[in-house]
Symmetry: C2
């Protein structure tokens, strides 16, 4: 029965985001998503545990990638600069999925429960970054503070990257947001 469907996951993601945008996350069903993608409902559940996982299934990969990049940043970098360098390195991944990211952000902004889930994802990301900074020999509270500040830079960067219509470079926005953070915390 089970047959290979070309790019089933990508088609399901696209159909899901369209339906969440059009009708709201709560209203869309897995059956409708599959139908719009021209696939069977059971194919949806082979790729995603539930509707929410279409939006959050990438969280583990994002965390792994960010942690790997922080771990491998040059030893000479201060903690906050190691985190910023790692964030810049995420640009290539996001650039491939800009339309998905934009739609995803607006679906989440429209739903309180999804916003909570996103906050939890970012808090876990911050905890994971603090952990890898400690493995780089950074003591606490510096490790936690650099991680929290770094994730604040990420949130601001991501929102600007989504909002700006002239398709700005993700890495450039990371550098600008980091500069803003440095000015703000210097008390300027």
């Amino acid at each position: 029965m089970s047959r290979w469907e070309p790019n089933a996951r990508g088609r399901l993601e696209k159909a899901a985001l369209e339906l969440y945008s059009e009708r709201g996350f709560e209203q869309a069903t897995a059956a409708e998503i599959a139908a719009r993608a021209g696939l069977a409902e059971r194919t949806f559940f082979r790729h995603f545990a539930d509707k929410r996982e279409v939006l959050f299934g990438g969280a583990g990969e994002l965390q792994e990638l960010l942690v790997h990049k922080v771990a491998n940043a040059p030893d000479s970098l201060a903690p906050i600069d190691a985190v910023a360098a790692a964030l810049e390195g995420l640009g290539a991944m996001f650039e491939q999925r800009r339309e998905f990211s934009r739609q995803r952000q607006s679906v989440i902004a429209a739903n309180a429960e999804l916003q909570e889930r996103e906050l939890i994802k970012l808090a876990k990301l911050s905890a994971a970054v603090a952990d890898v900074l400690r493995r780089r020999g950074v003591a606490d509270p510096a490790a936690s503070l650099a991680a929290e500040a770094g994730i604040a830079v990420f949130k601001i960067t991501f929102q600007r990257w989504i909002d700006e219509t002239n398709h700005p470079d993700f890495g450039q926005l990371v550098r600008e947001s980091l500069a803003e953070l440095k000015a703000v915390t210097a008390g300027e």
Copy 2:
């Protein structure tokens, strides 16, 4: 039927925290909390909507107080310093409830759902601080970054205040954590 019970709310809080600590948040029931406090179960529900509200019922008051203090910080202060001054001003409130705060923190640390709720509380606090900074004339992204950095200082301060056994001064810990943040974001 309804009669006034001296300090019923305080007795219920104390009994609830004891039971959450001894048996875990999930296992304790409202009836048991009321019984330990020497009160009727309906008295519990006159004071708290549910078991979780014993832990999070103060969130609104905390947010209101912090926002008020940021709004009234001297105009001459830079955004991050206005937030830090407001955090220092919370010390008096926390000092009155140190044992409650310690027990509350350890109950939350033992329960994933409560940890999520705490993250959401802190994210709302950050959003409220960013709003009041905007009302002070701070532009974005500086308002958001100063709020996020300020709440990071709050989290670190609070944890240190709970953890340290020599009962440190809350305001002093705010100043130390802010100094750490400034060092970290300066790339030191």
